[in-house]
């Protein structure tokens, strides 16, 4: 079965991102397809490579990047939400005259249409938020 997962909260602040990750991992382990993981609201903060959690804690951002690499996942960060919160890839940084980008490997920035399209193309949309 094909899933799209929506993540509405940032890492560490709220469990939503952990729940979404463990759900996605379990779905993949069961042989399902994750069509897309869409990061919205503060969820866009899951995609900054500049996080540095303490050694004894999980690394939420790296965990997403690794899962994306292993399973060729489409991790999409909403552009409008990202601009508000300062998440940028090289193109976005250049377009908006910013001096740096911070997007983590495996993530891409795109429009809200990707969420709707995920809802259309997938058998199930599962939302994790606050």
């Amino acid at each position: 079965m094909k899933f799209t997962v929506q993540v509405n909260e940032g890492p560490y602040q709220h469990q939503a991102s952990d729940s979404a990750y463990l759900f996605a991992k379990a779905a993949l382990e069961k042989g399902h397809e994750i069509y897309r993981i869409f990061f919205y609201h503060d969820g866009v903060n899951n995609g900054t490579r500049l996080t540095k959690p303490p050694q004894d804690d999980r690394n939420i951002v790296n965990r997403w990047s690794e899962l994306a690499e292993q399973h060729n996942l489409d991790l999409v960060i909403c552009v409008a939400a990202a601009q508000r919160r300062g998440i940028a890839d090289a193109d976005e940084a250049k377009r908006n005259g910013k001096d740096a980008d911070n997007i983590a490997p495996g993530f891409r920035i795109s429009g809200l249409g990707q969420l709707i399209e995920g809802g259309i193309q997938s058998d199930r949309l599962v939302v994790f938020g606050d």
Binding site: M1, F3, N8, Q15, A16, S19, L22, F23, K25, A26, A27, E29, K30, H32, R124, L125, V126, V127, F128, G129, D130
Partner: protein, 99 residues
């Protein structure tokens, strides 16, 4: 239809709204702080007990264990792991998250 509730019933009304809008026979899965709603002897236990005659109530076991309430889960609440969560999402035609 699968309903998920991730809020403590002592803080937010997500569980109440879920119970008021879920169709008889629905699956309700308590996750994150929602799992406190599955515990015995609370101010909402009777409500949840009653709900179990209309719905199947599940709680996400990793979240129950994490919060130290594994020995307080009400009889009749079914514990599932993340694989079980995925199965519920597959078995039901859609998922509504009561945030």
């Amino acid at each position: 239809m699968l309903h998920t509730v991730n809020k403590s019933p002592f803080e937010k009304n997500s569980l109440d709204t879920c119970l008021a809008h879920a169709k008889e026979g629905s699956a309700i899965l308590l996750i994150e702080d929602g799992v406190y709603g599955a515990t015995k002897g609370t101010a909402v236990s009777n409500k949840v007990q009653e709900a179990m005659s209309k719905f199947t109530v599940y709680a996400l076991e990793p979240d129950v264990k994490l919060r130290g309430v594994a020995d307080k889960v009400m009889d009749g609440v079914k514990l599932v792991d993340y694989a079980g969560f995925v199965d519920l999402a597959v078995e039901n035609d859609k998922v509504q998250a009561w945030l």
